[in-house]
């Protein structure tokens, strides 16, 4: 009853799409209006935290090597850390915008984990390409939450941060267990099953 790993990627893509839409909504209307209803204020931080929690079963059941276990475990931890920080900010337990550096940390750690745990080159197959692309994307966009610590009310930065999650969703939806990328598929990768 265990889902194929590509389905797990698509489930997390759906989580990132929810995050992206909610964050885009918040960036457009402003944090003050977005947080007028308490359930809405908690919506995307709790989704982020839940995704971190759900990454633990992924670590447990989809570990085919030590490096995969470390990568999945590190994603679980940083997603939970970033989600918990956002929840604490919404709740008012903490107030400094510099706490959002945990999001920058989460992006850098996630990006590094993606790049390190992918052992094949860019054009080995589609998932390898996507791992490289997502890794470099995450490492690069880590500058956005850092900039948001300085300018927390910036609509441009908020939108860019939200679109990062939408882009992540798109990349994760593109993932397949075994498929060519731009016509490239290594002969040692195997045969695509559908």
């Amino acid at each position: 009853m265990q889902p194929p790993s590509e389905h797990v990627h698509w489930m997390f893509a759906t989580g990132f799409l929810i995050l992206g839409l909610c964050m885009l909504g918040e960036a457009i209307v402003g944090t003050e209006i977005w947080t007028r209803r308490r359930w809405r204020a908690y919506l995307w931080p709790s989704t982020l935290f839940l995704m971190g929690v759900l990454m633990w079963p992924v670590m447990t059941f989809f570990t085919n090597s030590t490096i995969h276990m470390i990568a999945h475990g590190s994603w679980a931890q940083v997603l939970m850390l970033a989600g918990a920080t956002e929840l604490a900010l919404v709740r008012g337990k903490i107030s400094s915008p510099w706490w959002r550096l945990t999001s920058a940390l989460a992006l850098i750690v996630s990006g590094a984990a993606l790049l390190i745990h992918e052992q094949n080159g860019w054009f080995f197959q589609r998932s390898a390409f996507l791992h490289h692309l997502m890794g470099w994307t995450l490492v690069t966009v880590a500058v956005i939450p850092f900039a948001r610590c300085i300018r927390p009310r910036s609509v441009g930065l908020g939108s860019a941060y939200a679109l990062t999650f939408v882009a992540l969703a798109v990349l994760l939806y593109c993932d397949r267990d075994l498929a060519p990328v731009f016509g490239h598929l290594s002969p040692v990768a195997g045969i695509p099953h559908r």
Partner: protein, 91 residues
Amino acid sequence: MNAELVSELEVPRQRSSRARLVSALGPLTVLIGFVWAIMQPYRITLLHPHGQTFWWLVIEPPLLVILIGALFHFVVVPGLLEDLENADATS
């Protein structure tokens, strides 16, 4: 003409650009999901369910995109627009 009745007529309210933008997010997401489903129909296993396993029937990316877009539009956006209009009215 009864002036009292005229005064009760509501002037159609002009939606702000922010309201229009946030209202467009859900339908745009649904549209993207539909276009994806048309371009890659083999990803919709409900169209050919025979012999498919549980996960292939439950997790269908284009349908998930459509679902999320619709949920955002019908669950999140109405309250958001209400709050946005209240904020605009008081400012």
